[in-house]
């Protein structure tokens, strides 16, 4: 039972970061019906970028924040304007292959700009642990959880209360109607990509802070958010959060109980097994819409 509780708590802590990253995929899908396969690469790229600005160039945190937001905006604009906008109206395969190719371009850029071994963020948080009954977790993990909660609250506030957030939700409902009401749909798409990359960046930096900035693991991490959104349902923000926590917990449980049987490393594939099972049993996820099609 102690092991179970411990695994659940650490799973929730990891799952919160997964949930945050997965919001990025959901928001793009809701806005423009594009499934972003390059999410993992974007996670890795942004964590490297923040590392470079913060540790390598020693900029002040505010400057880093400003510069990162700028780069993220440029990325969002270029992706939407030069890749996805020309593909509007093409079959779904075009958008899928486009994001896959984009992932490879970003991976290649990472290999070119930051070759060699993993980078490490300096430790600013005390490395001690918090003990609650029999459950132990690090300060860093709990701080991550808090940051995720704050980011998620901000995200919800943006979409529930601000005018532009409401406009985005309206656009997601119906593009044509939004256009006729005077909403600049193309700019909304850019904004959706901006927020998505921002979520990826926050999640990536949080994870990289704990485990080091390393290309392959970070990409794999971002790929896990695919299973999160499939489990939660593509169209649902609540689904992404619940899916993220569920994947985090299931992954921790799988690693805790199955690893001794298979010799380690099962948390790398456990989310994908869940993904396949979800597609087999309930393809639209927990909270997704089941679309009815006509000929």
């Amino acid at each position: 039972m102690d092991l179970f509780l411990q695994l659940v708590v650490s799973g929730v802590m990891t799952g919160a970061v997964y949930a945050l990253m997965s919001l990025g995929i959901v928001i793009i899908y809701k806005a423009s019906s594009v499934f972003n396969f390059s999410h993992g690469s974007i996670v890795a790229f942004t964590s490297y970028l923040v590392w470079s600005l913060l540790v390598q160039l020693q900029f002040s945190p505010m400057l880093v924040l400003g510069l990162s937001l700028g780069v993220i905006f440029v990325m969002a604009f270029c992706i939407q304007r030069f890749i996805l906008q020309p593909l509007t109206g093409q079959p779904i395969l075009a958008a899928i292959v486009a994001t896959l190719a984009l992932a490879e371009v970003i991976n290649g850029l990472i290999t070119l700009i930051w070759p060699g071994p993993a980078r490490v963020y300096p430790k600013v948080i005390p490395s001690g642990v918090v003990q609650m009954g029999t459950v132990v977790f690090t300060w860093e993990a709990s701080l991550n959880f808090a940051i995720c909660a704050v980011a998620f609250a901000g995200f919800m506030f943006f979409f529930q209360k601000t005018k532009i957030g409401l406009t985005m939700r309206g656009t997601a409902e119906d593009h044509q109607l939004a256009r006729s009401e005077g909403v600049p749909v193309k700019r909304i798409f850019v904004l959706a990509w901006f927020i998505a990359i921002l979520m990826a960046a926050i999640g990536g930096v949080l994870m990289a802070k704990m485990h080091g900035v390393n290309q392959e693991p970070l990409i794999a991490l971002g790929m896990k958010s695919l299973s999160v959104v499939i489990l939660g349902g593509m169209e649902s923000i609540l689904g992404a959060v619940i899916g993220g926590l569920a994947i985090g917990v299931l992954e921790a449980l799988g690693a805790g109980y199955l690893d001794p049987l298979v010799g380690g490393g099962i948390e790398e594939v456990f989310p994908f097994v869940i993904l396949l099972l979800t597609l087999l049993v309930k393809p639209h996820g927990l909270f997704g819409y089941e679309r009815i099609e006509r000929v």
Binding site: A94, V97, L100, A101, A103, V105, I110, L112, M223, L279
Partner: protein, 352 residues
Amino acid sequence: MLKKPCGTFDQTYAQDMAPVRTLYRKILLVCLFLCIFILVPFLANNYFLSVMNIIGITVIAMMGLNILTGYCGLISVGHAAFIAVGAYASAALSNHLGFPFWATLPGALLATAILGLIVGLPSLRIKGFYVAVSTLAAHYIVIWLLLHGGEVTKGVWGLPCESPVILGYRLNTERSMYFLIMAIAALSTILAFNLVRSRFGRALVAVRDNDIAAEFMGLDVFRVKLLAFIISSMYAGIAGWLQAHYLGMITIEQFPLMDSIWYLGMLIVGGMGSITGAIFGAFAFRLLAQAVISLSPIVGQLVPALSGSSVAGITQVLFGLVILFFLVVEPRGLNHRWQVMLASFRLWPFPY
């Protein structure tokens, strides 16, 4: 499907169904075969033959992906994993059980067919990008299983594999392998060509274009999708079987996710849903990769920051950009350009 020149009229059903219709086509086809099997192997050096061997294996794999993605519209982002299973199955059979070269092929085919069946199962209820996601997940799971396969797959060390022996003659040079690979590539191409103009091939296209309408017309959509998965992965099995015996060593690094994406990219660059397109794509990508490898020292001298060690990065960025370029500018791929060229050649000196 076959575009015929002006004034060629079919008067019998045999003529209508003939794969090679006109005299020119027959002459060109014979010339092509002569070129592949006689001219190239006796003129080319070892380096060129090794490139051609890789292209040949890629063409076989592409035939499978073309049937699944190009014709049936199920996007597979896990083709490299299917090839890996074929390669590992044949390497494991020849290593642990001492199977001869030819006897490992049924094992590879069986293993990949079962994998294709399993991966294809979710396609009962999903389509579009959900299939892409499920094959992507399958890629991660398969690679993980191969890496943690214990004694059977030997983890990160990989498996050695003997060079093939046919009728007591050991194929251990590039030139001898060239004949084997090209013969199998030609056979696979002919098989794929005939498959897609059969009843099953038309069923694939019907499912791709509108699966609900296809079901309405009496097609068993799930069966067609599953068969497409199985046939596609069996092609991958043949490619993996050849790759294992050709390279002589199989490790997990030979099958990254990147390769799966490149196969999709080849399909886009070559042209979706056409046999010639798949071949064009394989040639374009493999030749481009060789060009990057041979040009990178020069680039490294001009721009010292991009030293020779960054070939992988340059290749990735370049290939990604090429795919994006084709998606945006010419989604019908090189094959469309080739058809346009053929048509203008045929009609010369008239514009149309």
